[in-house]
Chain length 457, copies 2
């Protein structure tokens, strides 16, 4: 029977402590592949904690792919490359069981306008000379320091301000990455996926390969023969399907990168701040022992679209090359915004803002899911991936094509998008699936979902 001392005083919740203990035992090999975990009730009794706590810990381990459940049998340890786990994750202090939801458009009711305005005034008063000076290409030190501290607290990523490059939006950062690796490189993107990513790599002169997904993320077999050198993925929360890449696949992807000198993975962590249940999935970057992962995230999604600040964390071994090739560029982000955002993060406003947003988005999501229950044709809709970042996916039983569905919705004055529109490879499995964005005003009334299924007159 597993026995852990969960009494150690720190700010972690019990479930998080238990999750860490079991995860570390799996990574160290103490718990072996195929080994059966104790039943939840028994483990709870043994440790003197509630069954719910054990349930939460197991759920998190499942979500991350450390264990699987077999029906009517129990929980089993997955086969994982132990030795490759880079380091123990730092103890993080964060609320347990986040119940969180994202939106494509953080809007004015959520944005902490008065705080932001106060910090702006403060930045203005602080010193004019500093505000007028050109920033180094990588961004103001104060902001890079604030990001490094935040990303450690929130994502367990140990990094230093030296590795952080602040850019004017992720699109700008992708352009820098093409320049860093060279226009002759082949970039791999997920299919289905965020369409702009490929468009940006192509516009910047790189080659681009669309890689099919299986239920764990980018298909490894497709990747192997693809000629891809730089792989761009959203492993925490695939866009738009919400697939979470489990630890095993993550290790396989890291192993793929390790095989060749010039291979790298761009980890696009665009909505890791938002997740339905449990802790956010640890980043690929934090388990990368070989300096193969470039971590990218943005404040445009979490704060406001008009705040054009994103950042990437470069592996140490790329720093010299980066400085040599791109260090001559000026920073593309105004100093004023950089210093204001630095204060906003330093003083904890950013994390408070995220909490507030999650509550609001949760309500929006609940309202949408409730409305779906009341649909006349409810039985022809299946909610899939409602934990996904930006929206839920609705699978529809219909003989109509996606084009027809879109046309019929349009006739009802509603724009809908279908999963198939996010795919270039056009696999049939992506047909008949509608994306419902929680925060779109158009979706306040969902009666169009019945309307598009009504028989034609």
């Amino acid at each position: 029977m597993l026995t852990y001392d969960l009494s150690k005083q720190n700010k972690l919740s019990l479930y998080d402590k238990l999750y860490r203990c079991i995860r570390d035992d799996i990574l160290s090999g103490t718990l072996k592949a195929g080994e059966k975990l104790p039943a939840k009730r028994r483990l709870a009794e043994n440790l003197g904690i509630s069954v719910i706590t054990v349930e939460n810990a197991y759920s998190q381990l499942m979500a991350e792919g450390y264990i699987t459940s077999k029906e009517r049998s129990g929980f089993y340890v997955e086969a994982i490359e132990q030795s490759k786990a880079k380091k123990k994750l730092p103890a993080r202090e964060e609320p347990s069981c986040r119940t969180v939801f994202p939106s494509e458009r953080p809007n004015a009711e959520v944005f902490p306008f008065s705080v932001w305005a106060k910090l702006m005034r403060e930045t203005l008063l602080e010193g004019s000379e500093r505000l007028l000076e050109a920033q180094p290409h990588e961004g103001a030190y104060a902001l890079r320091k604030a990001i490094a501290d935040y990303i450690y607290r929130s994502r367990g990523i140990e990094t230093s301000p030296e590795q952080i490059i602040v850019g004017a939006g992720t699109e700008y950062i992708y352009s820098l990455l093409v320049q860093l690796f060279g226009q002759d490189k082949v970039f791999g993107v997920e299919d289905p996926g965020y369409q702009k990513t490929a468009a940006i790599y192509l516009a910047n002169g790189a080659k681009c390969v669309y890689l099919p997904m299986d239920k764990h993320g980018v298909s490894l077999s497709a990747l192997e023969g693809s000629g891809v050198e730089i792989l761009h993925i959203t492993p925490t929360h695939h866009y738009p399907t919400g697939i979470i890449t489990p630890i095993k696949r993550r290790q396989e992807l890291l192993a793929w990168a390790r095989e060749r000198e010039g291979r790298f993975i761009i980890e696009d962590d665009y909505d890791s701040e938002f997740r339905i249940a449990g802790r956010p999935i640890p980043s690929l970057q934090s388990i990368d022992a070989d300096d193969k992962v470039i971590y990218v995230n943005t404040f445009s999604k979490t704060l406001a679209h008009s705040i054009r600040i994103s950042y990437m964390i470069l592996p140490r071994k790329l720093l010299d090359l980066y400085r040599e090739k791109l260090g001559f560029y000026a920073s593309a982000v105004p100093s004023f915004e950089q210093y204001t955002l630095a204060k906003f993060i330093e003083r904890g406003y950013f994390e408070r803002h995220l909490n507030r947003m999650r509550t609001i988005y949760k309500k929006r999501r609940e309202a949408i899911l409730q409305k779906i229950e009341g649909l006349k044709f409810r039985s022809r809709y299946e909610i899939v991936a409602s934990n996904s970042g930006l929206q839920c996916l609705l699978r529809v039983k219909t003989n109509r094509s996606d084009e027809e569905l879109i046309e019929r919705a349009k006739a009802l004055s509603v724009r809908i998008s279908c999963l198939s529109q996010y795919s270039r490879l056009c696999e049939q499995k992506y047909d008949h699936t509608i994306l419902l964005n929680y925060s779109k005003e158009e979706y306040a009334d969902l009666s169009f979902l019945d309307g598009i299924l009504e028989p034609l007159p």
Copy 2:
């Protein structure tokens, strides 16, 4: 004898009216190539104006290459392609005889901090929703409108907000231009020239050719055989030599672009706001009848380096291609900065700020030129191109190499740069020429200019 009615009531100065009358007569063919202009005193008497007014008008015409002076003979009309002049320049209302000087680093004492802060607060108060929304790729309409109006007033460029793309600095804009034209295109840059320009084109995957200069700008013969398709030049004020490309060469360059479908000229007008005497030189864009010129300018040089806002004016015929290829990008400039700058321009603060800067830079320049007069080795220095934008050039009589001069200055704790460092083609004519930036703190004491020429002990 030339006779013009200069009494028409408008805000133009007399000299400017006279300049326009003569220029228009040259462009229309009324004054023919080789024709001798009346002597200054006689024309002044004839028109009932002062000799100084005629002198100013003739100087401006000379600076722009419409006329030349032959010693002890007089002023003659240059050979110019009349029919190619696109349109009469609009009557502009601007102060006559600007005496202006630029700086590489507009600094805090010059920046209108309190006005800027006031406008920022106003932008904040005005409406939160608008500030949080993503801007269209090309930038906020209010800012593009303000720029269109300003550029008409200040540079006689007739354009519409639709043609203007606001970007996060000129470096960002150059990257967009490579993406627009394609990475397979050959970009031509001036040699000597601003080193970053070529670096940016190369980093973005384009090919880049260094084109030698003659005394009128980029050498046409070098251009012809070069394979260049996109020519990047600074015709108003070449960096760093200060060469002004005269009207004849401008027309030849436009004719070169006209010859082939895919040829375009990027007019980098980085310091047109600053000029020693007379009106600023009309832009290439304003005499381009064939939609071949992309005009680029920035607020980073005129306002503050930390304000990362530049813009380009696209020819109408490129608009569709631009939208198709790059319209998907988000704007990389924060809304907040865009709206604040729009107000700053609309309300005339920008032009007032420029006037103030010119006065300050003029004083700095005078101080430097005066100090040069007091040098022990004054006779070994020749001031060349002191009208140039960012600095003056000092030619040195010495047997020492540029490397030695730089080394000796370094030993005296002063960093100097030499014209030869701005050239890849390494033509000998660029040797022994030092750039003196008017606003560098290091140049407050010029005794190092004697120091580097002292005989070695």
